[in-house]
Symmetry: C2
Subunit: 343 residues, 2 copies
Amino acid sequence: MSAHAASPGTTKLSLDVAAVGNAIVDVLSQATDRLLDELGVVKGAMTLIGAPEAEALYTRMGAATECSGGSAANTMVGVALLGGRAGFIGKVRDDQLGGIFRHDIHAVGVEFETPAATDGLATARCLVLVTADAQRTMQTFLGAAAELNPDDVDPDMIRRAGVTYLEGYLFDPPPAKKAFEKAAALAHSAGKRVALTLSDPFCVDRHRNDFQKLIVDHVDILFANESEITSLYKVNDFDSALQLVRRQCEIAVLTRSERGAVVVAGDELHVIEAEPVARVVDTTGAGDLFAAGFLFGFTRGLDLATAGRIGAICAAEIISHFGARPAVSLAGLVETKIGIKVC
Amino acid sequence: MSAHAASPGTTKLSLDVAAVGNAIVDVLSQATDRLLDELGVVKGAMTLIGAPEAEALYTRMGAATECSGGSAANTMVGVALLGGRAGFIGKVRDDQLGGIFRHDIHAVGVEFETPAATDGLATARCLVLVTADAQRTMQTFLGAAAELNPDDVDPDMIRRAGVTYLEGYLFDPPPAKKAFEKAAALAHSAGKRVALTLSDPFCVDRHRNDFQKLIVDHVDILFANESEITSLYKVNDFDSALQLVRRQCEIAVLTRSERGAVVVAGDELHVIEAEPVARVVDTTGAGDLFAAGFLFGFTRGLDLATAGRIGAICAAEIISHFGARPAVSLAGLVETKIGIKVC
């Protein structure tokens, strides 16, 4: 738990994965269905909110706990806990929540050197209302995270990474979309791979054409769950989406909750079983950690089926407890389950 | 979870209890025994640290979660969750952690209007290292909390409260000690009671004579655990301390972990059994919540044995899960266990 990112000045190692995503602190609180109704929020969804709405919602929320989050950041933490070398690019403000985000991602050994904004909006937070049925309703104030711009993309970090992983949620603010394009171009010109996670069916709905163009032009590895991939192609069933996506990108990793996942790469197709879980406590972070496991296996040169299996193991770990960041060393877990020493 | 303190301008209700204590945000992280050794910290103890030490320790700590804490603040949250009316006086800075503390204590309906400091040290934080044996090692940076001074003691809040509850930890900074004396004098001149919790055997050791003087001069109800009360009187056994304390204050509530508690008031003496717990997960907050239950029962006019029983029920709830603030409505729990509707 006390490994640290390399300090500036030391020789920089190559990275397995570098991510560009939202730097967010999660604020979790228990809530009743009645409160959700009163607030007029859609249960189970992620909604973007502005500063006044975030302030008003926080006032209505119960006592809370705070922990670092962000979809791609969670994935990089997973890669690091598997024994991989991960980097993260994302924007915080120079405030206490920004310090917390930086501390936590450094504490697990993820490289994170994007300078904090010294003015403008505060560090992003995701207000999470947890209902008794273990569902999570998320209202995200993007704040400083949405101010990520192409200048924040460190060319050296991208060039050092085997895969550059882009978080779909960042497609909302236009300068961040430009940062995506810069990162993708840098990765490809260095002969490296580009991965994208679609993040959210509503996000896909807001940017369907842009996502399709990005995928065709820049993406080698696409991560999506069933509702995201069917939203992307505006189809009703999983198999139709599968047939479309296999023509559009080199590798697609399609997760399906308790029905496991499908990994497709042209003519190669693997059906990955979900890892059994004694009790599903909280499904937040399942997709983020599946991506972590897959990317770790892939960058270590394992075959697609084994990479998928590692993804399933990591997803199972994260849903068996509260919180979207793993509580245990994932490396040991994978070694036990797969019988290979991964680092 | 969404009740709120009365807004300024509305007629203010009487309070069951008002506390003067440290306004602290807890920062929890898992740690190994080896890390504790490397840091040179005493396992299981609470140590006060300065800003540079807090910064250095935080850098060494693993990924963390943040939640509001503070001993007397936890007690006031317990009183509110029992259905009582509670107020809190303590100092935060006008920073994000200060906002988190204010939000969380307001969210459960505790009155808290002490203005935040606009300069000086940051909001207090307690860096908690949790080892695999569920022990907690606490390093506290008092920051703004230690700058509480007599001007922060709102005379109106003290006069409206049946009991004013003082947190022993505040005996370290001299201006806070003066705030104690002001609060005690205000309470007594309004015909109300003064309670004190000794907080920590090391704190008692640092201020033994001052604590003894405060107890004789000002304290009606004393809360202490076994190591604190034996430290206060520099005796080796519980019974010796018991005989001494019954001559020095009107009511003493002496908690003894799994051996229950003893409540003594002159010739009246009650031995309170510990409430059975299926599994002790985390003992942090047991004393804080025992005090909450006792104070709630006492201020509702219940007899000392029943007030003690409510304390034991609340303590059992808090040790059966992680965290020092209760997860459930304590009022319902007490109603079920004792068979009386308490609010």
